[in-house]
């Protein structure tokens, strides 16, 4: 296998964590929606937590993207 092809495959494999990240973000927002629907007065307290969780999870996806770039362009 040529090295360029191997790099592309490596970058593709490095993106696999997006699977887990997608599930996690869906989980965060579904939980947020259901908790706010049950008790709308709690929205002010819960929303920053959801944003924090979203940011942490999104960071993992972006780290995966960084690794993919490192593999692809180095």
């Amino acid at each position: 296998m040529e090295i360029q092809v191997a790099k592309i495959f490596g970058a593709a494999i490095a993106i696999v964590p997006l699977f887990g990240v997608a599930i996690a973000i869906g989980q965060i927002y579904s939980t947020l929606i259901s908790s706010v629907a049950r008790n709308p007065s709690v929205k002010k307290d819960v929303f920053p937590m959801a944003i924090m969780g979203f940011a942490f999870t999104e960071a993992i996806a972006l780290f995966a993207m960084l690794i993919a770039f490192l593999i692809l362009f180095n």
């Binding site: 920053p48 944003i51 940011a55 972006l62 780290f63 490192l70 362009f73």
Partner: protein
């Protein structure tokens, strides 16, 4: 403005050169061996916050009991941030809120300035964000020693823990404490770079037939609005995480 001969990247390590912007030196200025040249990076970092500092200064110069005009705006912005941070820091940590407020404003404005064509995308450089996050890290360490003294190291170990687990958990907590500035800086940089790379790719669709061109323009204008949301969100996240780190080291495992 960009007609300078010499250009380079800040922290150019391998891949960073490829998808990070290049700065251009506008006024070359050397002191002996040291390079103090003014680049467009430095100009943006200097002037964008200066404009805001001017607005905030004008708004809060003559504070009256019944706010009028600009003072309304300044008070709304400050109080919105104050309430969020106060919930985490409490009365004892309220003295750190101005620092966090200036941090959130600085990052938000540079993030927004990223989207204006012609201005340099400052927060997509690791040099700026890493220095900001190292500042926060140093502040957290100083507060930790100020509050706890020699017991600072005990804040890494949760109370009521079996003796066998303590060294392992100490190493784990110490590692996660030391990795914080890097993850703070990287989160901001990668979010900004990802947005710009996405806009660049969508923009390169414009070379096709006219229907695709219109589609590319529509998508990229929607994405620009989305980038505005991301800019606000990342500034919020950066400041809130710094706030949580400070609150964590101040209150420890009390509550």
């Amino acid at each position: 403005m960009l007609a300078a001969g010499k250009s380079g990247t800040i922290l150019s390590v391998g891949v960073m050169e490829l998808f990070l912007n290049k700065y251009h030196i506008i006024f070359p200025f050397f002191l002996g061996k040291f390079d103090f040249s003014i680049s467009d990076f430095a100009l943006t970092v200097l002037f964008v916050p200066l404009i805001v500092a001017f607005v905030m200064f004008i708004g809060s110069r003559k504070m009256s009991y019944y706010p009028r005009g600009l003072q309304n705006f300044v008070e709304i912005v400050y109080e919105a941030c104050y309430n969020v941070f106060y919930g985490y820091l409490g009365q004892r940590g309220a003295k750190y809120i101005p620092f966090l407020f200036s941090l959130i404003l600085f990052i938000f404005l540079l993030n927004v300035a990223n989207l204006i064509p012609g201005l340099f995308a400052c927060t997509s450089q690791l040099a700026l964000t890493l220095s900001l996050s190292l500042m926060v890290f140093l502040l957290v360490v100083v507060i930790g020693f100020w509050e706890h003294g020699n017991k600072f190291w005990q804040t890494f170990i949760p109370p009521d823990l079996p003796f066998v687990l303590k060294p392992f958990l100490f190493i784990l907590e110490l590692f996660s404490f030391l990795i914080r500035p890097m993850s703070l800086a990287l989160r901001l940089v990668i979010n900004m770079v990802a947005g710009h790379v996405m806009l660049h790719i969508i923009g390169s669709f414009g070379a096709g037939i006219w229907s695709i061109k219109i589609l590319a323009i529509a998508i990229s204008s929607i994405l620009s609005i989305f980038e505005l949301v991301v800019a606000a969100l990342q500034a919020y996240v950066f400041a809130l995480l710094s706030c949580i780190y400070i609150a964590d080291i101040m209150h420890g495992h009390e509550d």
